[in-house]
Symmetry: C2
Subunit: 238 residues, 2 copies
DNA sequence: ATTATCTATAGATCTATAGATAATGC
DNA sequence: ATTATCTATAGATCTATAGATAATGC
């Protein structure tokens, strides 16, 4: 089966019958890229719903429409596939937030505020997921699910420590009389609330009787930076 | 094998050799209770580390020192075992917080505050886990891990909606001009931060270079209600 | 007489590898 | 000539059930 057929449907019926020279097929590099993308998409979706151990390689293969053994051709094993799903989009979210934090730092006239830093950090990410389509929403849930596990937390270290430490450094400048301990615990609260949002489980929908919706990231964005900034400020010691 | 032997070691060498009447063995009810407890303890530990699908019934049986098939005698299937682990301690945490909220309501002179309600809700729970020994800490991580999954969120609905709605009702009285939407989103942030704490993954330890420790619930207790209360107050509309 | 525990086992599934075939590359 | 994909299959596990044995109950 040629995976590119399903990936690029415009090729299906688009060729003129009178053409003497057939349109060239995908190069191997293109085929490889397309297959990898489809596999990662399917794995991302399934892992986000069921976790590493709740998904079999057969599940992934069936969703893509390939044989299970092809997964071993592209990935060492299931854990490696999971790590690659994590790694694929991590630079996107990390990079965008890093840029937003840099821009905020450059524009704040040397006087960063907690709320300003959190807007850059949080709003950027919430927008990315919400506006990035289904794949990004799946990645959000995938990462959130992983974040509450020990192995997932280690992947968080690997991919997100730089952005988070960048945020922390700005928070320290905004709160010069704070201890590092207070700032790290504050971040701990922020990321917990963020992960609970990204997990998108539907709980707040039912709890609130439909007033809130788990997938309503704009509603979270409207409140979160303000809420968390006030929390930080309340930790001030006498 | 008599499971009660390992559960109650005081019986092992405690009998006088001159006794003519042997000390009676455990009753069946006691044996059943002891076996159930050991199975639930082992399952709770393993599920907290690896999740529902990351644990096999053999893993649980081996940890207890029984045959896998005995698990089917006590539990319908693995999912049922998982649910029973969830259900065993849910009334403890729910009940204690309900009492704390009732007491706070009775003692606040009709003028509840957000911070007061959150202290009752959060501090009670953090104390319960931290002071409740290894089993309670395992349950905390077990529940937190479940909370970021769709199936786990449904169990949360089942067991914790009443306490949470009680908290929400007090918050509404403390914030009479707030919309329900703001209050529910505020709760959403609170529970995310709490779950991130209970998950106890070790991430904040590494991120902070050892300044904070994941298992330091007292440090969280010292900051959390104050932090979150200020967050709620910052959501006030003009 | 009833309940707790174990033995034996069926049937399904899962991961991973070896090696064949089909497509592109040059 | 190389790379992408598939066929065939080994070996290990896993869940669940039927039925036997051992312990308590009365």
């Amino acid at each position: 089966m040629d995976l590119t057929q399903t990936t690029f449907p415009e090729q299906k019926g688009g060729m003129s019958k009178t053409a003497t020279v057939k349109r060239p097929r995908r190069t191997k590099a293109e085929q490889r890229a397309a297959s990898l993308e489809q596999i990662l998409d399917a794995a991302e979706y399934l892992f986000s719903k069921h976790g590493l151990d709740g998904v079999t390689l057969r599940d992934v293969a069936e969703r893509v429409g390939i044989h299970t053994t092809l997964l071993h051709y592209y990935f060492k094993d299931k854990t490696n596939l999971f790590e690659e799903v994590f790694a694929r989009r991590a630079p996107v979210t990390s990079g965008r937030r890093m840029v937003a934090l840099d821009q905020y730092e450059a524009s704040c006239g040397g006087k960063p505020t907690v709320e300003g830093a959190l807007h850059a950090f949080l709003d950027t990410d919430l927008d990315l997921y919400y506006q990035g389509g289904e794949g990004m929403m799946n990645y959000a849930a995938f990462g959130a699910r992983a974040s509450n596990t020990v192995e997932g937390a280690v992947l968080m270290d690997l991919h997100f420590d730089p952005v988070v430490l960048k945020l922390v450094s700005i928070l320290k400048r905004a709160l010069p009389d704070y201890t590092d301990e207070d700032i790290f615990w504050g971040y701990h609260f922020v990321t917990g609330a963020l992960m609970n949002t990204l997990a998108n489980t539907g709980r707040i929908d039912r709890l609130s009787g439909g007033i809130c919706r788990s997938s309503d990231f704009p509603a979270v964005k409207k409140r979160m930076a303000k809420f968390m900034a006030a929390g930080f400020l309340a930790l001030k010691h006498k």
